[in-house]
Symmetry: C2
Subunit: 194 residues, 2 copies
């Protein structure tokens, strides 16, 4: 189960993980299971855990006063799940992260991260690339939300993350896109008629 | 005019700029003027310049097929204006950046940045903090777009960047918030009646 993580880190770095690095990873990342509907993080908690997804699917979302969920992130195999702002600034999270499927993860605590993992050169390089990629993709998603019609946003999602459509139901995809379920149904009908 | 930039970098860093660092900054950042409506960056160009705003105001936006502008960023004194994705990946920008007021900037080219500025310790620390802050604020704005009503988004903007409301007209503020001018007018009427 560590192989997926090790390969992932190496794939993002020109420096490969050394034997001591791999030992540190095996020592600090703890295998965990999050059952469907169980939480990795609850709104109001400080995010002290980062999860690397081995198998399964998670959602990150807020819940508004009316009880509606607003999906900010979806995570499947080879994604990292955490609330980066809460993790970094030690402030209570605005978000919940829960498992949409029974999920196998490798869990890293903040203390272990700062002591053992953060200084690893391959990890530094991976982290820097991921943060950059994340900044670009959040910026794109923001731009899409203020500028693109629902149909274009849906097509962009199909192209960028086709797996999401297999793994999550329509109402979650709609929320991720910032549209209603009804709008998503209309968009899908229109596309299938084209 | 360099004093604003030097103070800015020092304010974001525990390591202060040394005399040789300050000499490098004065040598590489070139004073420039961008007249109202002139462009710092045009859609389709690779972003080779980053501007630190000394005086004035700029907008970053895309233009859709119907000719409508969609504002992704607003920049005033002590902000950095550039398209980070295009700057980093050398890909054509999706955005325009132009001056909303006659603007004084300090301009840095990509080559000068990588050769002289990027290695400066205080700059590394500032850059890391700014990228983090930017990631958090873009994430917040994205979450607001999918979850918050227009009124709440407007109030959050007043609290976060009150200066924007003095410097930019209603249609730009509306676009930045991802709402129509008419919705913004209604929200402002409702708030002034409270």
């Amino acid at each position: 189960m560590y192989e997926a993580l090790i390969n992932y880190i190496n794939s993002y770095s020109t420096t490969q993980l050394s034997e001591p690095d791999i030992a540190a990873i095996k020592d600090t990342f703890k295998p965990g299971k999050i059952k469907k509907k169980e939480f990795l993080l609850k709104e109001g908690q400080v995010c002290n855990l980062t999860a690397f997804v081995i198998n399964g699917a998670l959602r990150q979302y807020s819940v508004d006063e009316k009880g509606s969920e607003h999906i900010v992130g979806l995570y499947i195999e080879n994604w990292w799940a955490s609330d980066r702002e809460s993790w970094t600034t030690l402030t209570p999270s605005l978000y919940n992260i829960d498992a949409w499927e029974n999920t196998d993860v490798l869990l890293l605590t903040r203390d272990a991260y700062y002591e053992r993992i953060k200084p690893i050169p391959a990890f530094i390089e991976m982290n820097s690339k991921l943060q950059e990629n994340n900044a670009f993709s959040v910026q794109k998603r923001l731009h899409a939300l203020i500028s693109l019609p629902a149909e274009k946003r849906y097509i962009d999602l199909i192209n960028a993350y086709p797996q999401f459509l297999q793994r999550f139901p329509q109402h979650i995809i709609a929320s991720y896109l910032g549209i209603t379920k009804e709008t998503l149904s209309r968009v899908r009908r229109q596309l299938s008629n084209k």
